[in-house]
């Protein structure tokens, strides 16, 4: 998966969790948990769906990297 695909996947999965997510307002380094009001259960759902769709393992140690679009896309591009 290249980085563009990774970013698209991340946005798609986030849209599934927050249906009216507006990515126009979210920069690459914006904290997604604040901007999209993700709670710990939403975040777990994000991890679950990403690891399913990308077919890669995401451990708790990786969670900090999923808090922004830029770092999240990098992580997915590395793993899948």
């Amino acid at each position: 998966m290249n980085r563009d695909q990774a970013l698209a996947l991340l946005q798609e999965v986030l849209t599934g969790i927050v249906p009216d997510a507006d990515f126009g307002r979210i920069g690459p380094d914006t904290d997604l948990r604040d901007a999209l009001e993700l709670d710990s259960i939403d975040f777990l759902t994000l991890v679950e769906r990403l690891s399913e769709r990308a077919g890669c393992r995401i451990d708790e140690d990786d969670y900090p990297r999923l808090t922004t679009l830029a770092a999240g896309a990098d992580l997915l591009a590395e793993r899948a």
Binding site: P19, D20, R33, E37, S40, I41, T45, E48, I58, E60
Partner: protein, 442 residues
């Protein structure tokens, strides 16, 4: 119309999921009702056969109004009477003569709902007839059922998949969701689909709304209603309940370490978040201190037999609901986690069940994910206590004279001084702390 929460005074019937002639069992979901807060699935409290539906979809009626007539125990209509009403409600059997019982059966009156005016609460013939006439006036007083003005799921039982916002915008514009092509996950109709459909159609009998007007008004109407419902209930709480507040800091070193080890071995779908352990401990502590688990009534405090843990869930776009995790003290943390995820998802999708919104015995609010360290909540009447959990933060922490860095959480308790004193509340927080030091036993 059941009261689906202490703050509910009326409800709008959105959709019937049963039809006359259908057999229903206790707990079956028979209708969807819209309250100020959410669309809620209403469970049947009585087994029997649906005789008549009294309220059309789209109609708003007060709490207590009859929605439908269910016939119970008529042998010729009940293929399986043994599993039906007879064994399930012997204790609540109203005092009644065979003649009156026969009359009630004949007229389709559920005796359990009839108030007996005779000696010893005995239900008389006139009580039944009064019930019949109120039911009849509710049904007969209305004009011939015109086509419902709101969007309605097809009668086939296959409900149109749609987001709550899409459902609402469609209903307010008189658009039938079944005619909208969904572009969301699994073909679900999203609000953008509804708006696209609206911009091409003029709903019958209404001036064509400018698409912008629909967009602006629909969510605001819901939010205002939600705001008012929350405000009314909380104002009542602060007016009636003499709150007292306690706070303590709980070391989560053991719990967080244990979770970390556990989650390492688990697939993502089975991983636990700290909230699961905190909620389990909150439920067990409520069982240990029953003076905080129950409801305040005219007769004083009534303890609850089980712990139905209300969980405050904030909704996207504002507002909050606090549905119950039933029997939370008996669930394993993994079960509790699965139920919690299901409950939060359904709360946000606007598909809670009536029993979940009406019977929490103590509520937990957790604002940790929003970054605050402590929350002193307002009690949900008629409950008598509310537990507040803040963010799990790392802090210097002394253990046996040694200073280390530990994850800690601030746990608070707001409790009703009519039902308990500070010493009782203190026992609750102490129990919560003690339970969280042995996460493997939760």
């Amino acid at each position: 119309m059941p009261a689906l929460g202490a703050d509910m005074t009326e409800g709008t019937l959105l959709e019937w999921l049963v039809h006359p002639g259908d057999r229903v069992a206790r707990g079956d979901i028979v209708a969807v009702v819209d309250t100020a807060k959410a669309a809620i699935e209403v469970e049947c409290f009585q087994a029997g056969t649906v005789e008549r539906l009294l309220v059309d979809p789209g109609t708003t009626v007060p709490v207590g109004a009859a929605l439908a007539v269910i016939t119970t125990g008529a042998p010729e209509r009940a293929p399986a009477p043994a599993q039906g009403t007879a064994p399930s409600v012997p204790a609540a059997e109203p005092v009644v003569t065979p003649l009156v019982r026969h009359l009630a059966e004949e007229r389709g009156v559920d005796l359990a709902t009839v108030h007996g005016s005779g000696p010893g609460g005995r239900i008389t013939r006139s009580d039944v007839m009064a019930e019949v006439s109120t039911g009849a006036s509710a049904a007969g007083g209305r004009p011939a059922p015109a086509p419902a003005p709101v969007a309605r799921a097809p009668r086939t039982g296959a409900r149109v998949r749609a987001t709550p916002l899409a459902r609402r915008v469609a209903a307010e514009s008189g658009l039938d969701l079944a005619t909208v092509t969904g572009t969301g996950t699994g073909g679900a109709v999203r609000v953008s689909d509804v708006r696209a459909a609206l911009s091409g159609t003029v709903p019958p009998g209404r001036p064509a709304p400018a698409p912008g007007a629909v967009v602006a008004r629909a969510p605001v109407g819901r939010q205002e209603a939600m705001r008012r419902a929350v405000g009314d209930l909380m104002a009542r709480s602060k007016r009636e309940i003499p709150h007292y507040y306690l706070s303590t800091t709980v070391d989560l070193g053991a719990a967080v370490g244990w979770l970390r080890e556990l989650n390492r071995q688990l697939p993502v779908s089975e991983r636990l978040v700290p909230a699961a352990l905190l909620l389990k401990a909150a439920a067990l502590a409520a069982r240990e201190v029953p003076q905080l688990n129950g409801s305040w009534t005219d007769r004083g405090f009534v303890p609850a037999e089980a712990v139905h843990l209300g969980v405050a869930v904030s909704l996207r776009g504002g507002g909050l609901v606090a549905p119950a995790l039933h029997d939370a003290a008996d669930l394993t943390p993994a079960e509790l986690m699965a139920r919690l995820r299901d409950l939060v998802a359904r709360a946000r999708a606007g598909r809670l069940r009536g029993s979940e919104t009406s019977d929490p015995t103590i509520t937990v609010t957790s604002l940790g994910d929003q970054g605050v360290e402590a929350v002193f909540g307002v009690i949900y009447p008629p409950q008598v206590a509310l537990v507040g959990l803040g963010k799990v933060v790392e802090r210097p922490w002394a253990v046996k004279g040694m200073l280390g860095v530990h994850p800690v959480v601030t746990a608070t308790l707001s409790a009703d001084h009519r039902a308990s004193d500070g010493a009782t509340g203190a026992r609750y927080l102490a129990a919560l702390d003690r339970l969280l030091q042995k996460p493997e036993e939760l």
